[in-house]
Each structure stands twice: as C-alpha cells, then as structure tokens.
Amino acid sequence: MIHHKLIVQNTLGIHARPAGHIVNIASSAQSSVDLLYSGQKVNAKSILNLMMLAIEPGAEVEFIINGPDEQKTADDLTELFNNKFYEDAT
C-alpha cells in the first residue's frame, strides 16, 4: 500500500475535467485508489465523489493506492499533477 501526497498545481482546482483525468488513471488501475482530502476519504474511481470534495488550487491531497500496480498508478498520478492536468498550457 502506498500513501502518495500530491499538490494541486493548476489554477482552477479539481473540477470536472481534471477529475475525469484522475478517474481515467484510477479506473484503468487494478489497484484500489482512494483519495483523502480534509478528513474525507473517497473512491477515486467515482468522478462525482472527486468533484464533491471541492479541492482548491494549491491544496495537498493524499492518494491511498493498494494493489499490484500501485507504483505505476502513483507515477501516473504524479505526472498528471505535475502537468497541471494538461490545463494551464496554452
């Protein structure tokens, strides 16, 4: 099991489109992927759950990933977060 902390670096926080990217990664993983934010833990395979956390720009979130491909999943998420969900680039 990996506890993986990441910072939300885009200017808009996790709205529908970034949440969609997270769901894409979480759903294609064999591992379970949960997201912990301000005391709430949700399944990262549900886009509505992610959106309802109202994650603000600059926030730190923690993924709890458990399963055979946990490292790869964590790496994919890191790449997604570091690229600001491919949003801010013009």
Binding site: L12, A16, L48, N49, M51
Partner: protein
C-alpha cells in the same frame, strides 16, 4: 479554462451545418421554463421497465455526448473535447446510476422523477458549499437538462425569453421543438443556433424547408450568450460567431450578397421545364410535411408532391387525429395543387420519430423495430382511420398513397386489402370515391431482392434512399464514429437502385427517389442516368436541380451511370463522377447544396476557420 465573462467578447462556435445560408442578426434566447417533472409511484411489476427506460435514456444521452466529443475532438482540440469525457464519466458514476435505480426500485418513483431527485440532491451539495464548487454545479446542470429531456420531455418546457422585435432574430437555445418553430410568423425567425440536435433532426429538415439557416449541435453556445447579442450564423459551414468584429461582418456581408445573387439567379429557373438538353423530362417533386407548405412548392418550381410525410399530423398532440381532421388536411393539399399529383406516405412513426401516443416503450433498436407499416398493420384502427381520410381526399384531386417500409409481399397485400375494405366501406356510406394509385416505398434490402414481385402489385415505386443506404450498409448515420461509412454512392446502393428501376420499367410503372440523395448534384445526375423518372426533395433544392438537369445530355448521363455500375467501390465512383461532372457543376455556380457526405464528422474536421475557434464545450 472557464469563460471570462467579459461583455461583448468575440467567440466562435462550430456545430453541424443543418440548413444553408448566412445571417447577421441579434439573437433571442430560448429558455427553459420551470420544468414540471412528472412524478408518480410505480407498481412493483413496473420497476423493471422503469429501470430499463432509465438505462436507455442514459444510453441515448451518452451517445449524444460522444458525438459532441468526437466533433469537438476533430474540429477543435483534444483539450476542449475532454469536458465531454468527464460528462460521460458522470453518467456512468455508480453514485448517480445506482442512486437513481434504488430510488426506482425501493421508493418506486418513476424514472424521470427518480433522476430528478438524485440530481437535485447532488446539485444542492455543490451549490450549498461556497467558492469554486458552486460554479461546478454547471456541469451537473448540463447533464441534468440533457438527460431530463430524454426521460421527461415536453416541448412546452421551452419558451422565448423576450419577444422578437420587428425585423426578426436568430433563436438560440439548448433545444427547440418543431411545433415551437412552426408557431412563429414567417420572417420572424432569421436563423437557428441550437446546442443539441443534428443535421438529421426533425427541426433541421424543417429549417431547410422553411429556408432558415441553421446550425445544430453547438454544445454550450446558449450558456455563453444573452438575448440581443449580435451574431453571425453560417448555416452553410456550421459556424456561429458571437459578437463578431468588423472583419467578420464585412466578410459575411460579401458572402450574403453572393448567396442572395445565386438565389435570385436560380429563380429564373422556376418556370422552366426540367428537361435535359436532348429532351428527357425528369419530374421534380417536393417533399413536404405540413399542409401549409403546399402553397409554397409551386413557387419553387415543383411539379407536385413526391413525399408528404403524414406523421406530422400525429406529433405533439394529446389524441390521435380524427378521420375528419386528416381528410381536411389532405384535401387542402390536394385541392390547392390539383391537377398536380400529391403522393402521401402513410404513417411512418417509430425509428427516430417515436409517437408517444402509440408506443411509449423504448426499443433497443428502434430503426429495426415496431415502426411504420408494421405498426400500422398491428394497429389497424389507426391505419384504417388514415386510409379512409386518404381515400376521401383522393376524390378531390390527384392523390396517391404510398406504403413505407415494405419488406415482404405479405405486408403489401395486407395494406392493399385494407385499402379495398376501406374503399368499400366509404362507398357503403354513400361517398363517391375514385380509385387511388398505390405505391410501395423501397427502403429495405429484402424489398430490392424481391422487387419484381413488388413491381407487379403496385402503380408506382419510390426509393427512400436514407433508409435504403442505412440498411444496405448497416450504418447508423446518427453515430458519429461510423458516419463516414454512410456512403450513398456505394456500388451496392447504386446497383440496388438499378434493379428497382429495371423492374419498374418492365412493368411500365414509374420510379421516384425521395431522400436527401436526390438533391445532391452528383447524385442527381447519377440517378437520372440510372433511369429514375422522378426526384423528390426539399422544395428549395428544386431550382438548382432543374439547372443541373437542363445542363446535361440524357444519353451522356446514361453512359456515365452505366459505367460506374461496374466499379467496385464508392471512392472510385466518386472520383469518376467528379471528373465527369465537377467542371459542369462548378460552371453552373452551384454551391448551396447540402450533400449527405458533407455531414460526416471527418469532413467537419476539414473546415478551416483560421485557428480562430476559442472554445467549445466548457
């Protein structure tokens, strides 16, 4: 990026080119009234079918959104298309789907209301928090509106925000129903820019027949503009520019001038005969769907009605139309046009034109389902009412009856039997009636294969190319992913048409083609060369078609068509036709044709709009 709410910011949107023409005008928004979601408890036995109805509604909405995504992906950018991926994910999120299903199963709410309850609670969750979450409720609201339209739709949910002023306006909104469109006075609506729908939507066909430029499937245009914003609507290329700059306006003013001149020039064709240079007469008829249109068709130079879609009498009502009501509607058309022929197609409901009054069930494959003549032969009460109205109107002028979706001799015989019975009953009532010509529509491959048997039993044949192509090629053209496979010039389609023509001429009866194919310039020439006697199309296409027919030699067209019949695939046929005819079509200055091929998403991607598109979707 979220839209910056600057006032009067120039924005460009693209959608589907649904009806050609250009207009620069103020817009009026169509807004959703407070929607009344019908709410009722269902029985235990009813839960399965409500859950099924809900799932199919969701499937339908997902299909619409995927189409939007594909168009955006190809014509705009991957980034802009991603918002639709998110919407698709929301529509398969168990939090939503299982939530609604449990409201249906456990609380026994009907599907529409269960969906409404669940979505409202989600939207409230978003809206009650402060800050960014509040804005994000918009995505959910989009989905709510789109889906509710499927599960709980009623045209009266929509109305104009403000009155249209003198001079008219372009209507913009999430959706518009055919009835709403028809209720406006002529000249008030200058164009349509609609978020949902497609080229083949009923409203699009109507817009083309009313000669109103229209762009459909614009995504979220209506959320980014307000009533009285100025916009340019380009129905020929599927482009909408909100708050255009001076450049845009000048460019389009020129376009409008060219378009108007072409139109004026075309009107010189109106009173000329559709005869080839070597003297072959091709009858050009109009397709109509409202009796009010009848008065207009001769002003476009039509020589009759080749397809009157009678189902329009049945839509948007609380009760089926009575015999008297139908007889009056049909008589009006026949009287007005006498002695010109009027071919009326019997009720063709089902497929994409569901009649809630008759069949509320959602079918998994409606195009191959309980529709058209099948429905009529099962619901003889409905069929006989219409038949009697048709026969009654037939005594007032030149009326012909056409049976759609014939797939076997049995169906044809049954339909003819009902005609005979109804005639006898009317005679017994003391009415003096005349014999009406009966025809079969050929739109199913099985009918093509047994065409010789069919031709022996009818007075005329009419090829419905839209369905014939769809069924011959097994391509649902409303599916954006495979729309490019919808190929009217596929050799299988052309050889089918040839078989039908040969069988008809052997029996000495005429063949007509009705369907969008008839009005595509290359197809027109191809069909004429194949020996088709009549073409039926939207009335505004007729003058262009005349111009084309008057510019060719029948012998030459026959030779070209005969040659392409031997070709193995559509692309070599298209290339050959272009080589033979392009120069001619170009020299005629014809540009405003809508061709079936123009509508494929792959073609949409080719539209160059100077990298000016700023955003579509979110």
């Amino acid at each position: 990026m979220p839209p910056k709410q600057e006032t009067n910011q120039r924005k460009m949107f693209i959608g589907q080119a649904a009806s050609p023409g250009y207009v620069i005008a103020k817009t009026k928004l169509i807004v959703r009234q407070k929607v009344v979601v019908s709410q009722y408890k269902i029985s235990r036995e009813g839960t399965a079918s409500q859950i099924d109805f809900f799932r199919k509604g969701i499937m339908q909405v997902k299909k619409e959104i995927s189409n939007l995504r594909d168009i955006t992906l190809q014509a705009v950018s991957k980034k802009d298309s991603e918002i639709f991926d998110s919407h698709l994910m929301i529509l398969q999120d168990p939090l939503l789907i299982d939530g609604v299903i449990s409201l249906i199963r456990d609380e026994r709410w009907n599907a529409g209301y269960a969906f409404h309850l669940k979505m409202q609670s989600l939207i409230e969750n978003f809206e009650n928090s402060d800050g960014i979450l509040k804005e994000r409720a918009q995505d959910l609201k989009d989905i709510y509106n789109r889906t509710l339209l499927c599960l709980n739709s009623s045209e009266s949910d929509f109305a104009l925000q403000e009155e249209i002023e003198e001079g008219g306006a372009v209507l913009t909104g999430f959706s518009i129903g055919p009835n709403m469109l028809m209720n406006f006075d002529k000249g008030k609506i200058l164009g349509l820019a609609i978020d949902s729908g497609s080229v083949t939507s009923h409203v699009s066909i109507l817009a083309r027949s009313m000669q109103i430029p229209a762009v459909m499937g614009l995504g979220s245009l209506s959320e980014s503009i307000k009533s009285n914003d100025l916009l340019i609507l380009d129905g020929t290329n599927g482009i909408v520019i909100v708050n255009p700059d001076e450049n845009d306006i000048n460019k389009y003013k020129k376009q409008i001038e060219v378009f108007q001149n072409q139109k004026l020039e075309l009107f010189t064709m109106r009173d000329l005969e559709p005869i080839t240079m070597d003297g072959k007469y091709i009858r050009l008829n109009a397709n109509i769907e409202r009796y009010e249109e009848a008065s207009e068709i001769t002003s476009f130079g039509a020589s009759g009605v080749g397809l009157y879609r009678s189902e329009f009498l049945y839509f948007g009502r609380n009760a089926l139309p009575t015999r008297k009501e139908q007889a009056e509607a049909y008589s009006k058309v026949v009287n007005q046009l006498d002695p010109l022929p009027v071919t009326i197609r019997t009720l063709d409901a089902g497929g994409d034109k569901m009649l809630a009054l008759v069949n509320a069930e959602v079918e998994s494959n409606p195009f191959m389902g309980w529709r058209s003549i099948r429905l009529c032969l099962d619901r003889k009460d409905i069929f006989r009412t219409q038949m009697k109205a048709l026969i009654e109107a037939g005594s007032r002028g030149n009326l012909k009856i056409m049976f759609p979706m014939i797939s076997s001799i049995g169906e044809l015989e049954k339909a003819k039997e009902i005609y005979e019975e109804c005639s006898a009953e009317l005679r017994a009532e003391g009415l003096s009636i005349t014999k009406v010509e009966l025809g079969a529509m050929i739109e199913i491959p099985s009918a093509v294969i047994i065409i010789e048997e069919i031709a022996k039993r009818v007075d005329f044949l009419s090829i419905g190319t839209n369905d014939l192509i769809q069924f011959t090629l097994a391509v649902d053209r409303s599916n954006g992913k495979i729309a490019s496979l919808y190929e009217p010039h596929h050799p299988a389609v052309l050889r089918s048409i040839k078989l039908v023509v040969e069988a008809a001429h052997k029996e000495g009866i005429p063949v007509s083609v009705c369907g969008e194919m008839a009005s595509d310039p290359l197809s027109t020439l191809l069909l004429v060369g194949l020996g088709v006697d009549e073409l039926s199309m939207s009335s505004w296409c007729i003058m262009e078609c005349k111009k084309i027919i008057r510019s060719v030699n029948y012998d030459e067209a026959r030779a070209i068509s005969a040659e392409v019949l031997g070709f193995a695939d559509a692309s070599s046929i298209n290339n050959f036709l272009k080589k033979k005819y392009s120069q001619k079509i170009k020299s005629l200055g014809i540009s405003s044709f809508i061709t079936a091929q123009d509508f494929t998403t792959s073609d949409r991607a080719l539209i160059k709009i100077d990298d000016e598109i700023q955003r579509i979707g979110s």
